[in-house]
Amino acid sequence: MADLTGRASARLAARLEPLARRAHATASDPVKSSRSAVVIGRLLGAAFLVCFATGLYSHLLQDPLPWLPLPTRPAGLYRFTQGLHVITGIAAVPLLLAKLWAVFPNLFAWPPVRSLPHLLERASIAVLVGASLVEVVIGLLNIVQWYPFPFSFRATHFALAWIVIGSLVVHVGVKLPVIVRVWRRTVGDAPDAAGRFVTRRAFVGGVAAATASAVLLTAGQSVDALAPFNVFAARRMGTGPQGLPVNRTAAQAGVTETAVAPDWSLEVLTPASMHALTLDDLRRMPQSDVVLPIACVEGWSQSASWRGVRLVDLLAEVGAEPTAPLVFTSLQTRGAFGRTEMPPEYARDPLTLIALELNGSALHVDHGYPARVIAPGRPGVMQTKWLRSIEVTA
């Protein structure tokens, strides 16, 4: 029996080997050299590291660690990190395709498996390639709010990020001799032979042009200077009610009636007392003006002028001092962010407002009328709209 399967597999191998060798030869090109793989891999690796670091920061802001204080300044920090996350993710599309193009012939290596380490190496590459492709694709789908995949975006994107970075580190470890050889080659050594499918210059130039145009035509949703070139991004600066885009409208949040109810009041609960502040109460308190960005997890962002009551002033009014996370609840009945926590460092920052006005007029209901949170350096989803209550815990 063992002899029979042995012979069958030998016959199969004899059939497959010429096919694999022909596929390898057909796909090969001197431009697809180790040097190209290392050069493009370096850029792609840097892009993935930037995405990983900024993504981790975004998750940290949404689920803070109790012992780790978060920076409230610069006020545009999250606008920068999350804009960079999405811009770099988009730039990774051509880089990932280029990297896979440069190594594609290796798919047909013969024999397909030489040893156990070789098998593990190929398995780690399969994980790296598959997870990277899915990570980039679902990222692109999320920024246009289209969810054709049978799993939740947030948790899957987060889990795959660790798997991509981990298998990338494994890959660097496995390929280290090749990487070191390319990095240590002397300047001006013999270049690779001329390309067959494409010249080296056209390859590098094409990838650079594709990366540059993808970034240029989308980054305008978060970078003011590039707004005129924003052709393909999901969001456009200066649009929406009061000239500012919205992530979740009042109708989507199910608050069209409750938000405009005349008997609305903001409940402020402290360990010692309970207060109900009407809109007029809030308007009678000292008002402050701040300029702070709305920066969405989906990468778009825009600066805006807000007017309202400083949170520190409001808390002082009710005799509370923020030493533990504050809990904000919204009138919204749908969506995951109807209840958010604010670490005390944000509550103490004088830029943090219970905003009543945006860009010179009362908040539009889609922007959180009658009152919303606006704090420096936080994701838009944490800037709770349609406030119902603030709870100060001891």
Binding site: I90, L140, W146, T156, A202, P245
Partner: protein, 151 residues
Amino acid sequence: MRIARVLLVAAGLGLVGVGGLVLLDEVPPERWLGIAVWVGSAIVLHDGVVAPVAVAVGLGAARVRERIGRTGVAVAQAALLVGAVLTAIALPAIISQARGNANPTILLGSYGVSLAVAWAVLAAVAAVAVGWSAERERAARDHGEGTARTK
């Protein structure tokens, strides 16, 4: 080097392990199959469709390079890559826009028109480069230098 490699592989496996824990912890088990199917399909779609198409384009380019000249082919290939990447970015927006969104402040662009314009510009650039390059190649051949230049 050996120590560095061992450390990198160990650290990488650790990070993959964190990803596995996040999957176990935050993604309900009934979703795992869907993720595995997407990861597997991504590999199959790339290796079975995208990469072979790229190889075919390369084979075509190699065939016409003698006639058209290096520069023309290079510009055409770069234009094709730029167009393909812009399509990959614009297509989700086009489809999502067609499906509709209850939020009137998202997907406001004319993505289909913009993509068509982008392809038209790229095609024009490629056509000019190919025309210029082919003309130069023909002139070189007429002067009897053809065999020396094309390699």
